[in-house]
């Protein structure tokens, strides 16, 4: 067999994930025949996770059937949802004909390609060449998207379309998404309609139209479209996620939970169960929360995909349920890897304090609370801080609890999830009447700072305005509302007074933080756009 090697192959860093030695050796040889110099090998999902964490790969060839606990798709889901793969990494899933149809039609995180076993080196080569070609054709779009230059990416869509008509569907998918993010709803609608004209049963385009309706507030119409999609394809996970989003926009948490529940029945992954658990817990449905977090804990037990937060959430549900013994048992037997994850020690001790109170063991409760408090490095808008506040209330230290809760809300006063959970803490501990004083005050504290800074900017005291926000951010560095306002006002400052290098750097820092705190957020995307426009305008003026 003659294999003409592709010069692009030599530099590919590849990882082969396969449990069967014979198969692994076979594919290893095939990758070698393609002159791919670096082929790392993993025999278990945990091996693969370790390798992916410490290396960066261009190509991953992964068998679907790995072991009882984790299959190839769950592994891919873990990599993608934890952002462990480079955006340009190619993931090829190898399946037997037996699994292929079922696996491919229900996957939430799709690999770049499926390859049926057994395959020849030539076939593998052709597949990789096709993926590399696709990647380089679409690179002008994807690279700009990664640089947050959405308008630039959009402009590239038409250019790519002109030179590569065979990529029309990939490009239309990007184009619709970009137009939606840029707020050009009618443009997005026209794009999805164009795709549907080529083939009227394209689910992603139908869902795209529903997203357009959501964007203009036509929620009922969007719902009708999604229901129609689900009648024909009940397995399409994104449809359930959009239903969840619509239910939340309508303030209907019950419906949101229902949609999440249905999605987790189709893809019973730890991540899906976690989402169900969180939604159920928020509305006080402890029974469902217990089942969902229980599944998440059980399905990842002993694996590197296990997340400390699942165990803590389950323990909190046990405490709320009055099962203090079960909570303590769960908290006493934790994998060592969890103890290094952020906020784990605080939450663990805070939950132990809550459980001991329930059992009437007050000295132990107090001891645990102090242990939790000593580990805390200041209040943050996170579950650890909320658990600490709840523990304070439980051990009868109301003033302390109120202070911690207030700090948690202040730390990110626009964070709806934290605000809702903070209210829940007060309700669960019988302190509902404090909500106005603690939570509403904390929210107004943040909005007052923003309002004041805006007023200063308007009254021609721009330097004081920026100083005000910078100072507030010192004590509340992860406050998304403040970060957003600081970005905006710095950009306004520059559009009035001209370019200022260190301000550009500051805004970039704010936006980078926002991007981590609020991934995929529309307002953050808009702010990136504002930054770009401001820089262009300021450059023109000077």
């Amino acid at each position: 067999m003659v294999i003409v090697s592709d010069s692009r192959f030599a530099n590919l860093r590849s990882l082969l994930i396969e449990d069967l030695p014979l198969m692994r050796q076979n594919i290893r040889i095939q990758l070698g025949q393609l002159d791919i110099a670096r082929v790392d090998q993993a025999t278990t999902p945990d091996d693969a996770i370790r390798l992916v964490r410490s290396n960066s790969y261009d190509l991953i060839v992964c068998d679907y059937n790995l072991n009882k606990e984790t299959n190839g798709l769950q592994l891919l889901e873990f990599f993608r949802s934890q952002n462990l793969l480079q955006p340009s990494a190619m993931f090829i899933m190898v399946t037997a004909e037996n699994d292929y149809a079922l696996v491919a039609s229900t996957a939430e995180f799709q690999p770049d390609s499926y390859l049926l076993k057994p395959f020849t080196a030539t076939k593998l080569q052709e597949r990789i060449v096709r993926l590399l070609d696709k990647q380089s054709t679409l690179a002008p779009i994807t690279e700009r998207m990664q640089a947050k230059d959405l308008a630039g990416a959009l402009a590239q869509c038409d250019r790519v379309l002109a030179i590569a008509p065979k990529r029309v569907m990939d490009v239309l998918k990007f184009k619709g998404k970009l137009l939606l993010e840029l707020g050009n709803i009618e443009g997005a609608r026209a794009t999805y309609t164009q795709a549907l004209n080529a083939r009227d049963d394209l689910i992603w385009a139908q869902i795209g139209l529903a997203k357009c309706d959501v964007a203009i507030g036509e929620l009922q119409k969007a719902k009708t479209t999604i229901q129609a999609v689900l009648v024909r394809n009940s397995q399409y996970i994104e449809a359930y996620d959009l239903l969840t989003q619509i239910a939340r926009l309508q303030g209907n948490e019950e419906d949101a939970l229902d949609a999440l529940n249905r999605s987790s029945q189709i893809v019973p992954s730890a991540r899906r169960n976690r989402m169900v658990g969180d939604a159920a817990y928020r509305i006080g449905n402890l029974e469902q929360a217990k089942i969902a977090f229980g599944k998440a804990v059980k399905s990842t037990k002993g694996s590197l995909t296990a997340q400390a937060s699942d165990l803590l959430s389950l323990a909190q549900v046990h405490v709320d349920n009055g099962d203090a013994d079960q909570a303590l048992k769960l908290l006493s037997d934790v994998p060592r890897s969890f103890t290094s994850s952020s906020g784990f020690g605080i939450t663990q001790a805070a939950l132990q304090a809550q459980a001991h109170v329930q059992l009437g063991n007050f000295p132990a409760a107090e001891k645990a609370f102090i242990a939790a408090k000593n580990q805390s490095e200041g209040a943050r808008a996170d579950t650890a801080t909320l658990a600490l506040a709840k523990a304070a209330f439980s051990v009868g230290m109301e003033a302390e609890g109120a202070e911690i809760l207030s700090q948690a809300v202040k730390a990110d006063h626009e964070n709806k999830n934290v605000v809702a959970l903070a209210r829940k803490v007060l309700k669960d501990t019988g302190n509902e009447e404090m909500a106005d004083r603690i939570i509403d005050n904390a929210i107004s504290h943040g909005s007052a700072i923003v309002a004041e800074a805006e007023a200063l900017m308007r009254s021609a005291r721009p330097d004081e305005s920026l100083a005000k926000l910078e100072e507030a951010l010192q004590s509340m560095p992860e406050n998304t509302g403040l970060l957003m306002a600081a970005s905006q006002l710095h950009l306004l400052w520059m559009s009035q007074k001209g370019m200022q290098r260190d301000y550009v750097e500051r805004v970039n820092n704010y936006l980078e933080k926002l991007d981590t705190l609020l991934p995929g957020n529309e307002r953050v995307a808009k702010m990136y756009r504002f930054l770009r426009e401001t820089l262009v305008n300021v450059a023109k003026k000077s």
Binding site: E97, N98, E126
Partner: protein, 202 residues
């Protein structure tokens, strides 16, 4: 799946394996590159047949066969298909007819590859010197064609076909549905001679 069909297919695979065993025995006695390549090709063809058999079995199970339809370039797809080394007939020229080929087609690349590989194997048995593969859009359907320059479909063979290939093509065609419409596969005589295989997908 029809148990009679299953028995015929297994029998066929057993015979192919016996042929391969003979070649390997000869190779063990006297290594020879050409024979080794032939044995390798026979081995790949056997694998393909087994995958086809299991896919057919899957289609008749309760889960059925489901196509994962996406947009692909038929040109790229066919290039990958003919690059496949199971076609053990160096004397037959396989070409791709690019005329009227759409830039994009909607199908399941892995399932359609299984169907076309089986049809191609079949055409290889009858072709005299040439096989032409094409893809075009016809009255709302995507039609893959394989035409050989053999004697046509009435031809007698020393070892008659098991019917695995056409059965497989049919279930794969049917797994491609769109609304009420389903795909179909057929083998006919081409008016200008030779056999014409068509896989039509809605």
């Amino acid at each position: 799946m029809d148990t009679r069909l299953a028995a015929i297919i297994v029998h066929d695979i057993k015979n192919a394996l016996a042929g391969l065993e003979g070649e390997l025995r000869a190779l063990a006695a006297a290594p020879e590159r050409e024979r080794a390549e032939h044995a390798h090709g026979a081995c790949l063809a056997l694998q393909e047949k087994l995958v086809g058999f299991l896919t057919l079995y899957k289609a008749s199970s309760s889960q059925g066969l489901k196509a994962r339809i996406d947009a692909y370039s038929p040109q790229d797809f066919l290039d990958e298909l003919v690059g496949h080394p199971t076609l053990n007939r160096p004397d037959v020229k396989v070409s791709i007819d690019t005329q009227d080929m759409p830039a994009v087609g909607f199908f399941d690349e892995n399932l359609v590859a299984l169907a076309l590989e089986a049809a191609l194997q079949n055409a290889m048995r009858f072709a005299r010197s040439a096989i032409e593969i094409g893809c075009r859009q016809k009255s709302g359907e995507l039609v893959f064609t394989i035409r050989d320059d053999g004697p046509g479909i009435g031809a007698k063979e020393e070892t008659p076909s098991t019917g695995l290939g056409m059965n497989l093509c049919n279930v794969i065609a049917e797994a491609h549905n769109k609304g009420e419409k389903k795909g179909s596969a057929r083998l006919t005589d081409h008016p200008a001679g030779g056999a014409l295989f068509e896989l039509r997908l809605p």
